[in-house]
Symmetry: C2
Subunit: 121 residues, 2 copies
Amino acid sequence: MKKGAFTCGLDAALFVLGGKWKPLILFHLAHGTRRYGELRRAIGRVSDKVLIQQLKELQADGIVDRTDFGEIPPKVEYSLTAFGRTLGKALVPLCEWGTRNSSGVEAIMVRRKAREHRHAA
Amino acid sequence: MKKGAFTCGLDAALFVLGGKWKPLILFHLAHGTRRYGELRRAIGRVSDKVLIQQLKELQADGIVDRTDFGEIPPKVEYSLTAFGRTLGKALVPLCEWGTRNSSGVEAIMVRRKAREHRHAA
DNA sequence: CTGAATCCTTTTGGATACTG
DNA sequence: CAGTATCCAAAAGGATTCAG
């Protein structure tokens, strides 16, 4: 490894869970194994394409496990690998921060939308 | 507040630091006040436009403070607000995860590039 | 039910040149 | 030094449709 690819560990972590829905996937799988449709409904408004794509990446990256029961009708379960669980744990404080400051963050969201709106005018 | 805008705190936190360089900005400012050019050099390969844009958002969101000394030549300093520091702290475990698993993450990066390359062929 | 394939829109980031 | 303005390329996400 000739060069440090990342300036800090944060970069490395964010590189792994870059993708709009990955953190949410981690969050839901941290609570247990989920079937595909189950996961999709839990996350809500996300397209199959994107969900599948991100699940595949997480799988290729060794974060999630995919178990295909090879049956008809199809049944596939997703869960976290041991590695994935360590990442999930590192995510907890951030999750707690968001929970503690949820009202503050929602205020931020409102202000951002207001700014965008002004800019659109 | 009729609806929970976020399914979990994680979403809220990620909403705030969404943007390629924001985590890195947090990281560098967590170690102290920085002048604009200083920050830019610390981060490395980032354009003025994007850095300024993200700094402005972080400022509008109450994460960073901007102090313009109103002098010639221009001198502007950036630092974290108290709120920003709490977010910085929540980021630490993730940073540590990345550091502990840096080699693993670099391996992931290599494999991803290999996949992209294969796909390009 | 799980997922692949295609097309399309939006968003994001970057290069460059210019200003007080 | 610390930005601003414009233009542009790339990537990411989403809608829809189809298949085993």
